[in-house]
Symmetry: D2
Subunit: 137 residues, 4 copies
């Protein structure tokens, strides 16, 4: 079972803005890339055509501590902070070397794919068997 993952990445040119640093919206994509890499490390795909479920976000909260720049190498440390019947809450820290440049919490809810209005459903067993909360840290 997987409860945490470290995802390495490099800043690309298109992710910067005219202030000369990474645009703040990109950090949410970095964290999402790490989340999906965590799922792959668990042998899962966040968008498995056979599962019938999807994981829209219901909340995302992020603090920015220092800017990232073009070609910086960094890591996203993501862990599952809580796992309820229908939701998963993640905690992530974006680090450049030993410096935390951003930290975030986000919550995804399990829904039946293609059904609107969305309705939360229990996480399928095939997913629950492979993901676990990381515990306090």
């Amino acid at each position: 079972m997987v409860s945490a993952h470290r995802y390495p990445r490099r800043v690309q040119f298109a992710e910067t803005d005219l202030a000369g640093m990474v645009h703040f919206s990109w950090y949410l994509r970095y964290v999402e890339e790490a989340e999906h890499a965590l799922w792959r490390a668990a042998g899962l795909s966040i968008h498995d055509p056979s599962s019938g479920v999807g994981f829209p976000r219901v909340a995302f909260s992020i603090e920015y501590h220092a800017p990232l720049h073009f070609e910086d190498e960094f890591e996203v440390d993501i862990r599952i902070e809580a796992l309820s019947t229908k939701t998963i809450r993640y905690r992530s820290v974006v680090r450049r070397a030993d410096e935390a440049v951003a930290s975030s919490t986000h919550t995804a809810v399990c829904v039946e794919r293609g059904v609107e209005p969305m309705k939360a459903v229990p996480l399928p067993d095939a997913i629950r068997e492979r993901l676990a909360a990381a515990g306090a840290s």
Copy 2:
């Protein structure tokens, strides 16, 4: 029937890069926004759930003449250059005031949605009745 459209737009912060100008990939999105606005002007949607067809691009060619900057106001002048049984070719010019800052040609093909490998199919009559080639100019 609609064969051309003028689409006004303003440069947003997230569209710029650390060189202080709009990232070159954004022009394709500006042109696509204009294309979809042309369809709306014709009473159509490029992604009509009831039509069963989609319009992936098969080719896009663009020349950049001058940079756009943050908060610049500009227009995309798009017209249908050619309309065959299964494809639509567009010609677009991105203008700031009277200056052409980019010009492009792109071709979209009509395919049955959700079928892979993709196969070109004839444009539905409901679409063909509302779009027309602009003729030489």
Copy 3:
């Protein structure tokens, strides 16, 4: 003096993802577009070459209530919730017709442009004269 602004927008194709709705990272850009439109309504630019200051974000928190879809028309209602010597806190609601589809809070800090590590500086008078907190609501 300006303390609130309503910004109209339409969902573009490139803003959707394979789940058939707007990708969650795009809401931060919608809110930022509204913020910069509020500044323009006050006769200001968030990136005025002559001001010497910039406004990086230090925190962004958002809740998603319902999905937006391709070609949806919506509005961002943004207001200045608090204005301190060196920071501005905004509160925004993204609405489609009468439905709130997302709500957010974010904080920007005034820094001297081009100086790293960043250091907060007081808002210039030329900006402070034109922006005001909206008060409770």
Copy 4:
């Protein structure tokens, strides 16, 4: 001297659109990421603060052969097709396994950074010593 580079990549969720495939604008960013990786393989950075020059694109032409999907692994094979005094022309093929899914040509011009209107200048020797045209293939 470097004249070609192979850049591996995986499709991320935010790069897909509601048609269930990678949005066509993303391929330009994939090719640009490969271009900058080629520069790094040559010991260079496309945005070296000490060089004083930048490389805006003047033309980009791309053909799309087949769609990429979420989590697909692919490679960009990029090579320098021609190197003149002031410009570099690249040729790229995006491949998934043995299938070419897109192919492109783009041209960048060397300009003095921060000067507008832009004016082409000769490539600095420090760059010219490390990049070479790949020759016909």
